[in-house]
């Protein structure tokens, strides 16, 4: 809600290049020396989950005050059950 939407223009989610990653083979328990690499592989890659690149506000009143102060329109995303689960 906060930014003007030039910032929203970057929202289109582009998936990063697919690549092979760390071996899962018989990974029970998970080998500690693979922890960081596996965690990084699960987490969003560049271009994914772009919704979270935007500093959203939760209060329409705060958004209105900021928009009036900065002379910008307000971009509102609304829906049920919280924030979007994947990219925009």
């Amino acid at each position: 809600m906060k930014r003007v939407f030039l910032s929203v223009a970057v929202v289109a989610a582009l998936l990063s290049a697919m690549h092979a990653g760390v071996a899962l083979a018989d990974a029970k328990p998970i080998p500690p020396d693979q922890f960081e690499a596996l965690k990084a592989q699960i987490e969003p890659q560049p271009g994914e989950n772009s919704f979270w690149d935007i500093p959203w506000l939760l209060s329409i009143w705060e958004a209105r005050e900021l928009a009036a102060k900065e002379g910008k329109p307000i971009y509102i995303w609304s829906g049920s059950q919280g924030a979007p689960i994947t990219g925009c």
Binding site: A13, L15, V22, A25, K39, Q41, N49, A67, S80, I85
Partner: protein, 310 residues
């Protein structure tokens, strides 16, 4: 969306200007600070059109400081119930469905992993990770930290942490439609222990390790089964008893079809044995949007906050 019934000036403003929806797919509205609608709908083209409508407005509606916003007044006290409880840790939880190479390496999903043209169209959404938050209550994380830690000490994590993890945060349906899965799990379906790894006056490092086996019935098909292992690390200052790191992953085989709205197998989505992982990480200084409640907390808050009482 709560604003539909929000009893304060904010809720009234949103209702009066019809600037919200209550659907799980969500919607976009673009308005001025005064409340004039200048655009609707997702997508870059519609955003551009709204921006053009904004630029066409008279200067006195667009100039910084030109519009005065009145007093907000008292906020609906029910908003507090949607906020994280005081002192709770907020973890970002990222779920990702994955594939596997013939050599056994995990890899990101490919369009060819989807067996129908229709499913292939939804592949980009499905293969992107989904986002959620996990809340760990103040009394729970304080109990997690040993009073007199010694390297090698081992103990089960507080039961509510394990129960909340199993029921609400190992959810392969999150990326499909935000529905819940495995909410009928009991603490006996998994184990999670904390092991003291390092102790110094400045820092104690704990390792989290464990595993689970969760299942969900599918109509006219085998159960959906998930068997993750857990590994994680928690670091805290023993004198201040403040946590500076809380990282964990759950990773293991997911086997079986995901259910559609009627509980039957979803067509075209990968249903063989494939890796599914969740990465958890502490959000030390949450932004307003990172205080949004977890998906598992949206309908039955008390069950989420007190999972062992179920």
């Amino acid at each position: 969306m709560f604003a539909k019934s929000q009893k304060d000036a904010e809720g009234e403003f949103l209702r009066n200007h019809n600037a919200m929806v209550r659907t799980s797919t969500g919607a976009v509205h673009v308005i001025t600070a005064e409340g004039k609608t200048i655009g609707r709908g997702l997508g870059l083209a519609r955003a551009q059109k709204a921006l053009e409508a904004w630029e066409a407005l008279p200067e006195n509606e667009r100039q910084p400081g030109a519009v005065k916003i009145g007093e907000r007044g008292e906020r609906d006290p029910r908003l507090l119930e949607m906020s994280p409880p005081e002192g709770c840790l907020i973890l970002r939880a990222t779920n990702r469905h994955m594939g596997q190479t013939v050599e056994g390496d995990i890899r990101y999903l490919l369009v060819d992993d989807f067996s129908s043209e229709r499913a292939q169209r939804s592949a980009p959404r499905y293969r992107e990770p989904s986002n959620d938050f996990m809340w760990i209550m103040k009394d729970e994380w304080q109990e997690l930290l040993p009073e007199s830690p010694k390297v090698g000490d081992r103990a089960p994590v507080p039961a509510p942490i394990l129960a909340r993890l199993l029921r609400y945060h190992l959810n392969p349906l999150l990326s499909v439609r935000g529905a819940m899965c495995f909410t009928g799990s009991s603490p006996g379906d998994g184990k999670l222990e904390v092991v003291v790894e390092e102790v110094s006056p400045e820092r104690v490092r704990l390792r989290l390790e464990g595993s689970a086996r969760l299942s969900h019935p599918i109509v006219d098909a085998d159960d959906l089964v998930y068997e993750p292992a857990f590994l994680g690390y928690v670091e805290y200052d023993p004198s201040k008893r403040t946590i500076s790191r809380f990282d964990m992953i759950a990773l293991g085989d997911l086997d079986g079809a995901l259910p559609n709205l009627s509980g039957r197998p979803m067509a075209g989505i990968p249903d063989g044995t494939r890796p599914f992982g969740i990465a958890f990480g502490l959000i030390a200084d949450p932004s307003p949007a990172e205080t949004i409640r977890p998906h598992g907390c949206s309908k039955r808050r008390s069950d989420y906050l007190n999972p062992s009482a179920e």
